[in-house]
Symmetry: C2
Subunit: 498 residues, 2 copies
């Protein structure tokens, strides 16, 4: 017989930039999403789940290009039909673009305003890096068709409620609110009004959006003549004078001790600009609505230093920041920072229908929020392993199954050891690797006398580390009980461990 | 100024074969998955979430082909690196192929046996049809590395528990168990043993797997000379004699009134075949283990007529069927049928590691299960709309926000009307379209006297349909209460509606 040709073995690897999540990583995130969904639901938001795949045409923004169809998204072309080429499809890169498509498609059947929430994976075709993955979760709530600033205020309150619901204590977070219209007013006052200043305004918006990265000096350089970066590349600035740039920089540092004082300071800055004054009025209204609903400045505050997204949003902008300190990888103490953001945006569906529809929304970074709770030791999700019923006598499998069935019916997480039972030490090692709280042991002697041995593995491990001989005697970690008392005794031990 | 070039508007449509899910469709499924996950967890299974994207190489089965890379899967090629072509990536088509990759990749860090569950969307690049979508949910549990038939028995018990947990009552379902080894034994007895009969055995396996579609006559034809289908195409048969085919057909009708009698009948059929006898022993063991764990034949039974998947699985095969009757689209009464299936399969990771690892698992069809619960009127998920606080006086928005904040803090789903408040009729229409149980109304008079109007919309709708004038007077559907009693009164009304 000819030797069969060997096919090389496939590599067992995730694609670059993707990863697997195990056990508590999955259940803790699911539990967090469930809690956030409950808050969204309580606020009258309805669930929406669109599929991961959209047409590239409907997604927009990223257009297919024969040479490089995958710019930023994962895209592919459907097989051609008899008479026309196949559509380009792509994985969604966020939950807002699909919302626009859904609203345009179903607007006659949806309520107005339409409050919807959505949670699920999104995909980005980007260069992966440490902690940067090409699939991650988003968790959004948006109100479509409500021009009123009350819709923005509601989302700020909801964001605060979500953070508390998942375990961030009041005082450990702040929802900060800013307004793009105030910045527009500031630019008007600084002399950047008019169609001919469009390019300059664009430079200012992009500069401000980079405050986190470049710092005030970098932004200031971009407002003026321009900035040379570390690599020597020069970025042209907006060409503002010192005094003009002062006005814009003043906007970002306009925060005062009280909301009232901040609003007053912003009014000075936008004096004479109608759009600016409208923006300040909106901020003041949001502050009033928040106060009326019982959300004080300890939870939601006006802060003109929130600049992230000002280039994208058209009205109120909000960001939730965790204010507690954590230690970073290098042991340095720093603030945890932003875990959610959002704001008001126009033209959600205009590209589909030609009709302007106002919308406002928020996106919560669940993975950052999970990391924050871990950093604070407040992650309470159930990570306990199962009670393991060990197998001393292979021919007694039916008896072991009966035990485990009783435990499960009592709501106790439990399993029979299903590996090769020959080496009993392996079974205890297995229980250890499973983080099991309790092992149940029964062999010939136990079956004969109608008892079982129950081993408290948590106490056993503690005592093995610390206990004196006296303590070992006083508080054994293994008990012999009547077979009929199995469930009661296991439940007792689990209760003591909690 | 030159007229700007118009870009055509994109179509607001899902790609063919994809759909959106709204409101209760999303939450009911999420709730079902949560309940099933809780049962899986109680049985000691750990969550696993892999990403939607895998390399085509790791997925296997569907191999990339330059002309038609998308055969059955959605696949695309990564951009090339400097020195080598990009990998082919694809959306996962099930949750078992990723499990194989995960187990091969992480096997040194995973417990043995490894019990894992996974739930999430999978994608198939198939021709869409009515009720057939190209993205759908799977919800799987598998035990990897446990050769013992106790692992299969455990999964049958778990499947029964899952069905009861989501609301299928005992008596309305049955988990049926069969075994591929018994069929192998039957084929041996029928004279299809030996390497030279490989093709015939393949034909028999495929024929049996089609029993649902072709019926007994169709299968019988395929066991013999062959079968001509409706289109006139001829499928070559296995060439068995009448007597040989009788043996195979006898296997599928071997079910008797009791498990003991069925096992006895199967023993007759495989008499003389070692593999067949081993299969019957396994079925008998499963029956014994089920009985010991308290799962009677009303929940799990041996049934050789389960043929789906016999071609794929290598040992025990199981299927959960709902036994109650429903009416189909055309009003005909029929059994609801299968909602879950699974079995034992070999070689899970062999293609990666060369090492044989036994595995057994189950996949629950959550969308079919949801449809079944809807058909029986047993879908209890929360579909209630929010309490709507209407807006009579735009300048009082802060007061309305305070009301809605109180309701939400009391755990009551509620919202302020955020559309244009000018037309009050529109607000009540909105409440109606939202399925709201209660509307709260307050205008100038109410604010002056410190009261609110609370309208029971459910009772109001009922009375508008049925009530006599007397009843209208006796039981009003609108109440005036002190502002401070808002939450209490709304809670009362919601309680009465339940």
């Amino acid at each position: 017989m000819a030797k069969p040709k060997k096919t090389p073995r496939p590599k067992a690897e995730t694609p670059k930039g993707f990863r697997d999540y195990f056990g508590a990583e999955v259940t803790q995130r699911a539990e967090m999403l469930r809690k956030i969904a409950a808050v969204y639901h309580r606020y009258g938001f309805d669930a929406l789940e669109s599929s991961g795949v959209e047409t590239v045409e409907a997604l927009g923004k990223f257009l297919p290009d024969v040479d490089r169809p995958n710019e930023g998204v994962f895209a592919w072309q459907e097989d051609a039909d008899a008479d026309k080429p196949g559509d380009w499809l792509a994985l969604r890169y966020d939950l807002t673009a699909p919302l626009a498509r859904v609203y345009a498609q179903h607007r006659n059947d949806l309520p107005t305003p339409y409050r919807r929430y959505a949670m699920g994976p999104v995909w980005r075709n980007e260069k992966p890096g440490p902690g940067r993955f090409r699939q991650f979760y988003q968790c959004d709530a948006d109100t479509v068709g409500a021009p009123s600033v009350a819709a923005d205020a509601e989302i700020c309150a909801m964001l605060a409620d979500c953070l508390e619901e998942v375990g961030i204590e009041r005082g450990d977070y702040i929802v900060r609110v800013n307004n793009r219209k105030v910045l527009n007013g500031v630019m008007e006052v600084a002399g950047l009004a008019g169609d001919d200043k469009d390019a300059e305004r664009g430079i200012v918006l992009r500069a401000i959006d980079k405050l986190d990265r470049l710092g005030p000096d970098g932004v200031r350089a971009l407002l003026g003549e321009g900035r040379k970066d570390d690599s020597g590349d020069f970025t042209k600035g907006a060409g503002m004078s010192e005094r003009q740039a002062d006005v814009v920089m003043g906007f970002m540092t306009a925060k005062r001790d009280t909301g009232v004082a901040t609003v007053a300071r912003l009014r000075e800055l936008v004096d004479g600009s109608a759009i600016g004054e409208q923006g300040v009025d909106e901020l003041e209204t949001i502050a009033d609505l928040m106060a009326a609903a019982g959300y004080g400045a300890d939870r939601v505050e006006i802060d003109p230093s929130v600049v992230r997204g000002l280039g994208y949003y058209t009205g109120p902008v909000f960001e939730a920041e965790l204010t507690f300190e954590i230690k970073d990888d290098k042991g340095r103490v720093r603030n945890f920072g932003s875990v959610a953001g959002g704001g008001r945006y126009d033209d959600l569906v205009k590209r589909f229908t030609g009709q302007e529809v106002p919308a406002t929304g928020v996106s919560i970074g669940v993975d950052r929020l999970l990391a924050a709770l871990h950093a604070k030791g407040r992650m309470t999700g159930d990570t306990a392993g199962p009670v393991v019923v060990t197998v001393m006598d292979k021919t007694r499998m039916a008896d072991y199954q009966a035990m485990v069935a009783e435990l499960r019916q009592a709501g106790i997480r439990a399993e029979v050891y299903l590996g090769n039972p020959k080496n009993f030490g392996n079974q205890l090692k297995y229980a250890d690797s499973r983080n099991s709280p309790v092992a149940v042991i029964a062999g010939g002697d136990e079956f004969e006398t109608g008892v079982v041995q129950i081993k408290d593995l948590i106490l056993g491990a503690k005592m093995a580390e610390n206990a004196t001989l006296e303590e070992w005697k006083d508080r054994p970690s293994q008990y012999q009980v009547a077979r009929g008392d199995l469930v009661t005794k296991v439940r007792d031990i689990l209760g003591q461990q909690d």
